[in-house]
Amino acid sequence: MAHFKLSSFADTISHSLADSLNPVLVKDIRESLRSRSLYYCTVLVIFLQVLLFVLNHWSVRDNDSVNTILRFYLMIYLFCAYVPILSLSQNWRKERCSDALALEHTTPLTPWQIISGRIQAFGVLWFTLLVVGMPLPAYLICQEPVTVFSIINSLFMFTAIFFGISFFVNTGGKRTELLNILSVFIFLIAGSHIINAFVSGRNFARAYQWISEPLIVIYFSVLCILLAILYGAGGFKPIRSNRYWIPHFALFLAFLSVPFALSFFVFHSVITVETASGWGGVFLTIYGVIVVSFATLANVRITERCRLDRPKNPLLRIIYWLCGPSAVARYSFGMLLMLAGCAIVCYGQGVITENGLNYDKFNDRGLLFLPSLVMCAWCYSCLTRGICSIFRQKSLSVLFSIIAFTQVINVFSSIVDGDAKIFSLFSPFASLFFDAYELIIWQGSFSLIMSLWLIYTLRHESRRQ
């Protein structure tokens, strides 16, 4: 009987979905509506709120008890909200593994429409869960001063982390159990930060004072993965390109060897905010120019190889539209655009280097956020594409992509925090746990492995040709 009622509810909603909606969104909503976990979690959250509301109402009210209730509730709520989202992203994984995604690509749906449909589906699900789950925290928080910005910020953070974890984990592999364990593990780490921030921080508008460096790293890594998926070519699917390995190789060198070698031999340490002024600034600019140039070159080359009249990437589409059929014009314009982006990012770094961290002046630098965000995401999506085209093994491509994204995180965390080790080459995570010397060893080993792998791949490719 219960099943019948749930089906009827799902059918009613399913029939009423408008034609104008993104087809992928419609499909995902329908699948979610038939997921039992959504109903059970919703009921549990509502029941828990009523229970805790009554408990709070009848017990002695002090800050500690409110905090305890809030902490307890958020733990359960976050988990309950996460389960349906995990289930949704598992559907996406199944689609990818069972070739259903390939079938979607035989329709006129663009990759962009498919990705945006999924993000919209996530948004709808998340918003529903949020509406159901927020009355109690809102009631408890509203007993103390709270700003709209604080709520928006926390919601945004929830969203980025939830989406990022569930989607990312399910993009990387095929084994359901393993992915679920990994997902819950990451979720617990991220979730504990969220709860602490939510309960202890309260007034989020106070210039990010509650944000610790690890939290920034998690926050932006999730955000950047999201952006990279949005801007990247076909998610993590490697592009099977064999012909244009020279620009890819140059791209790889630019990305990996040049900054690494320079940072090691010229500065004798990783580059930090302190060393980014003077020659460090010049180096950063050169580095940026090389990286973005090759990134653009590789991206345009790949698009040319695929003989696409209309590239999927929106920015590339603009370049094609403006420059016409001339490949030289496309390269030149693309590089100019990338240089502009790089200059903006470098300028942002310079401002921070010059002035140090000053939250009062945050708004001035805040203007740099959007262009920096777009440019960095674009730049690294190009890198990812190039990397994926070299390394045909998906797992390795994903690994490289993550490394590339962490570069973006470094830039942002340094803009926001001013204290992160910018361009600590391959991992801000590593910079949290190792000192400079260890970091160089870590990066050196990693570079060696990657170089060996590159040589292997290139040999393999040349044999085929």
Partner: protein, 311 residues
């Protein structure tokens, strides 16, 4: 709309899946795509459906190059894989609705397209069934319905009859014949050669990534007949003595009993000796009431053309 595949090549690692294959499919034809396992059939079909990029070569649909204009070409093609990969938690109508939306159908156009394909594929009574509740045959019907939603001019079917029971196969064959009569070009990859025999008008035979034979079935059949010239003799009575008598004739390679009163005779030297062999047979004075010369089917053409090797 016709399809022309020109010099298509594709490699996976060291394995050359397709080696400069070329063939032509005329409008309204049902063409069988046959070859041993691992011959490159699925790779070729996936490239034609726009799911894989070839290393070189092109696929032309009419005047459109598949690789240069994938979006325009997709609207003209319906691709059906060997099994229906999709979520089991949605209903049949929701599945069709999704693809109808994906192909840009909205409102009344969408509803009528879904009704049309559901009726054509005998799904009219199943729209509210969950996909998970369907049998393999029903799922193939749903898959065929999905393919037909946007009324494509070309159907690429990869092993459509795989795993189907005899009744479902007959129904599928009937559907395909109807579609060909509507002017659709149908390209079917199949291992079940007898399924193609009755409906195909042409065949493309592939082995080790190379096309070994292609063309109209009548031409291929005539060519194969050169080696496999056979006669079916119907007699008033049939016994071992008669069989031995025919087997003893100079131009008869073999004679086997094919049914109660029928003998399948294979002629030595093929078509060239057909008339002489017939004279020899009638000279025996056996009670022959009817003779028949069947064409070589896809199966024989396939056996003649391929060596059974894989990449």
């Amino acid at each position: 709309m016709n399809i022309e595949v020109c010099e298509l090549s594709k490699s996976f690692g060291d394995t050359k899946a397709l080696d400069r294959i070329s063939f032509f499919l005329p409008e309204g034809a049902i063409v069988g795509f046959v070859g041993p396992n691992g011959a490159g059939k699925t790779t070729a079909i996936r490239i034609m459906a726009g799911l894989e990029q070839p290393d070189s070569g092109k696929v032309m649909l009419g005047n459109l190059n598949m690789i240069e204009y994938p979006d325009q070409v997709r609207a003209q093609i319906g691709f059906m894989p060997d099994s229906m990969p999709d979520s089991d938690v949605i209903r049949v109508w929701e599945y069709l609705d999704f693809y109808a939306r994906a192909f840009g159908l909205r409102g009344q156009a969408k509803s009528s397209a879904i009704s049309r394909v559901a009726e054509f594929t005998n799904l009219a009574s199943l729209p509210d069934k969950m996909l998970s509740e369907l049998s393999k045959g029903m799922k193939q019907q749903v898959s065929l319905a999905r393919v037909l939603l946007h009324d494509p001019k070309i159907l690429l079917l990869d092993e459509p009859a795989a795993g189907l029971d005899p009744r479902a196969r007959i129904e599928l064959r009937a559907c395909l014949v109807k579609l060909a009569q509507e002017g659709k070009t149908i390209f079917i990859s199949s291992h079940v050669l007898s399924d193609l025999d009755d409906i195909a008008t042409g065949a493309v035979i592939i082995e080790k990534g190379k096309i070994v034979s292609h063309g109209k079935l009548t031409d291929l059949s005539a060519s194969a007949a050169g080696e496999f010239c056979r006669i079916v003799l119907s007699l008033l009575e049939l016994n071992e003595q008669i069989l031995e008598q025919i087997n003893g004739l100079e131009l008869v390679e073999s004679a086997i009993k094919s049914s109660n009163k029928q003998i399948m005779v294979k002629i030595k030297g093929g078509t060239a000796n057909y008339h002489s062999a017939m004279v020899q047979i009638f000279m025996t004075g056996l009670p022959i009431i009817r003779t028949e010369r069947p064409d070589a089917g896809i199966e024989e053409i396939f056996l003649k053309s391929t060596k059974g090797e894989v990449n």
